[in-house]
Amino acid sequence: MAPLGSAALICALITAVYATAAAIVGARTGRPALVVSARRAILCVAGLTTLCVVLLEVAYARSDFSLALVARNSSTDTPTFYKLTAMWSSQPGSLLLWAFLLSLYSSLALHATRRKLREIVPWATATLGVITAFFLSLMVFFASPFEAVAHPAAEGAGLSPLLRNPAMMIHPPMLYTGYVGFAIPFAFAVGALISRRTGAEWIHATRRYTLLAWMFLGCGIMLGALWSYSELGWGGYWAWDPVENASLMPWLVGTAFLHSGMVQERRGMLRVWNASLVMGAFILSLVGTFLVRSGILQSIHAFGASTLGIPFVLFIAAMTLGSVALVVARRDSLRSTHRLDSLLSREAVFLLNNLVLVGLCFVIFWGTFFPLISELATGTKASVGPPWFNRYTVPLALVLVLLTAVGPMLAWRRTTAARLGRVLRWPLIAAAGAVAILVAATPAASSATSLIMFAGVALVLAAVTRELVHGARARRSATGEALPLAAVRLVGRNRRRYGGYLVHAGMALLFLGIAASSAFVNQHDVRLKPGQTKRIGGSTVTYRKSVVRVFDDPSGTGAALSFATVLDVRRGGKHMVFRPAHNLYPSADPAAGKFSRFFDGENTSEVALRWGLRRDVWTAVQPDLTILQRPVAMADAKFGKSDAQTQATIIRALAQMYEARGPAATFRVIVFPFVAWIWLGGALLLLGALIALRRPPTAKRERARTPAPVRRELARQPA
């Protein structure tokens, strides 16, 4: 098993190097056969990495502890789902996932472009070969997933309980698919620059891959936020943690590129900008991948220092320098063919949108890497916290929302101010009305920034509605269809546009959720004894009782001890019952005492949450376990050597003692208004992206017709 896997990795590395060399030679000597050979080689790499993934998954499924990776991250009693998804929760496994996804994506992209862009594709192939070879070499020389253990143990270490959550397991593959996806437009941009084919063809050919990558990255970020919110005991979805920021930065740049790419396709402008943007997006993806495993920044996610830091930094530096050098060397072929005609045009708004997005990325970058910057400047590592991030990102986000509303209202080239006013009339009235209602009926006016944000959100939603209704009406007057059918057909025939509008609507709802749940959050910590009631800001909470479950984890994560509580919350006439718990997992440390190891291992909070469209009520508990410290120490001393049966009885006795004594526990109760709209907005965003991805139906229909005069008539079809 292990030798086959290692052999496959080495073979893949050799093949990737060959692909790079063959593509470059093929490009320079003009031999298409070599380019085809290079493409085949990438396909072989994809096959080999697939083989590695299969081998590793089989090893996990069979609990084959002769592989060091399986021994460290799995155990015989880990549920199967977590066994199979544990592959990427380790350094070598995640590298393999990267290489696997990259080779797969590359094969797809190169296959799809095998008959087009003849001058760009060889260089794109070479670039993809280099990146793949880098990740493969990391595995071959530094961190092999197939490292064998000389004397396999009978049991593995098991998966960290913090990761035993479905969202957490899908989060890395989603993120990686996003990061890897940006490699495709990057490679084609490099190819376009080297071969001086700097028109919009490379953008057009890779647009779907960019959109797909952007979509997956967005999903990955959402899932991470959702996990933090529903699983961690601090009560929140975003902490401006370096690793969170590292995934957001390439996403922001990717969003900017999706917009400015359109400008280059239509008007031939922003060529230098687009090339730089897409290179920046990919390099930021590499930085994101690197940050998680480097330990250079203090983060809750920084999983300690590893020996891979230096190769990564060198690779990122080489990519950055190479990209900059390439853009500078080709700046002649990157001159725009057109200029900005008017500030009231879609191009201008897209440019502004790009500036805001890149500005956001820069702010986040600065704040995230500030410890290193300050160390260079002043010698001490200083860091900035969430308040600083919020101070700068909130105004930029406000501008972004306003641009999102106005952008689609403008046409390409030029729209007069009068025309814009006419188009914006109903959306503005609707937004003003919404603000008036909010000020009158809710406490929204207490936060000026939130009010502006709500106005912007209303404007976006009204503008999107206007586009849909007006467009359907126009179609109805041309084709006589009923309004609903006209709307459906309209969206079907203009998928890019209306998919994009749906994404905008999703973003607006997302911002609504974020603004409402941050500005109007109601958070209280309260310490209660069982039976005690207290009043905290609008709610009355009662700690009804505590139940300790031994070896019987209701959440299915295999916790040995679960300190469950029942909490009554009464709010404005409603009576809700919550069951937050605190789970303890035994430590695997052989030096720990027989009983204290149950209390010294990992522990997690089981958050009790009630969803709602208007508000979420979130509760978590932190029980006070100090009364058990002395009894546990005594049990260690007296019953340390007893058999498993006696130990189980003692544990149960300790649990019963805790229940009987009923010590206090600290509860955190948070009311988040409108937080569910973040997830709903995210889902809408995803739907919009999916719609925009699908091919428009007319392409197929039009390709079927042959005679030229008929095709000329097709240009006169209704929208």
Partner: protein, 89 residues
């Protein structure tokens, strides 16, 4: 030992797959096919642009004069692509 055996076997397979295209004679007709595919893609994109411009006009974002100018320009660009496609036959 097993590693070397496996490695040799895999390398042989890969070499077979990768050198196969090198022995085939280059197809010259493929070049013309590629050009046609590129033109078809450009044509589809241009049609989409025309449709988008019409939709923008119907939604009231451009004046009639501006729209006519844009439509004329896009139509002539589309006809140029169609002419080139016809020439390829």
């Amino acid at each position: 030992m097993e590693l070397l055996l496996a490695l040799t076997a895999l390398l042989c397979l890969v070499t077979l797959a990768v050198t196969a295209p090198l022995s085939r004679p280059a197809a010259a007709a493929a070049e013309a096919d590629d050009r046609r595919a590129e033109l078809e893609a450009a044509k589809d994109a241009k049609y989409r642009e025309i449709r988008d411009a019409r939709l923008d006009f119907r939604l009231g974002k451009v004046s009639a004069a501006d729209h006519e100018a844009t439509e004329r320009e896009l139509q002539s660009q589309a006809l140029a692509i169609l002419d080139e496609l016809d020439d390829l036959r």
